[in-house]
């Protein structure tokens, strides 16, 4: 069973994503800020990260940069989520086959499709 780390400061969105992903057969880890996310990456070694971009006390960019510094986790697929315009995200985040961007509010059907494509079926 693949593990997905959900990094989201909005408690409702975090709870919804956890429930939704569990219903789709994934194990989930949760983090409400950048520091907790880095801790979860180190300890939980997730297979994929859903990463909110704008959070108080450290943005998703902080988490992405930290992720790159972990040798064994640097290639972990990430889906960056934000209500900010994609153009603004792309100024700071280099998207790639393993780093994708999804605008908020999230299209949950599309989200599970992307996760499945990045991980393979759970």
């Amino acid at each position: 069973m693949a593990t997905i780390l959900v990094v989201e400061d909005d408690a409702n969105t975090l709870a919804l994503l956890n429930v939704y992903l569990k219903e789709h057969g994934y194990k989930t880890l949760a983090a409400a800020d950048a520091a907790m996310a880095v801790q979860q990456i180190r300890q939980g070694k997730p297979d994929l990260i859903l990463l909110d971009y704008k959070m108080p006390g450290g943005s998703g960019l902080t988490v992405l940069n930290q992720l790159k510094s972990f040798m064994d986790m640097a290639g972990t697929p990430v889906i960056v989520m934000s209500g900010v315009a994609p153009a603004e995200i792309m100024k700071n985040v280099q998207l790639s086959p393993s780093v994708k961007f999804m605008a908020k509010p999230l299209d949950l059907n599309k989200l599970v499709e992307w996760i499945a494509a990045l991980l393979g079926k759970p």
């Binding site: 400061d9 909005d10 409702n12 969105t13 709870a15 919804l16 429930v19 939704y20 909110d52 704008k54 959070m55 108080p56 934000s82 209500g83 900010v84 315009a85 908020k104 509010p105 949950l108």
Partner: protein, 130 residues
Amino acid sequence: MNLLPLLRLDFPRAEMLLDAGMLTLALVPILYGALLRPMAVRISALTQAAMEREKLVGELRGALAQVKLLSGFIPICSSCKKIRDDKGYWETVEKYVTQHSDARFSHGLCPDCGKKVYGELYEREFPQGS
């Protein structure tokens, strides 16, 4: 060698002058203690207070320069809620407020939009709204 006897012989007024001089010298510590020292202490305290006031004014000026205030009428689209800036461009509320204040946004969903966007899942998880 004591020169006073010579001074007395050659310069009759010298003794008087010396006495006056000695008296003046004797008064210096008294004058210093009674007048000059308190004045010096007072001037030092005033200078210190003035320096602290200048520093405080500088800090307040710096803080004021960083404060951005939103005030007056803000033209906002009644449909999409974009705001027209002073150059005539229509910006999202997030961008406008971020540019004109120190506030930052974190995106969530209000209960009405939560139900609209996530439907049954939202209503099941948050039956009371949020």
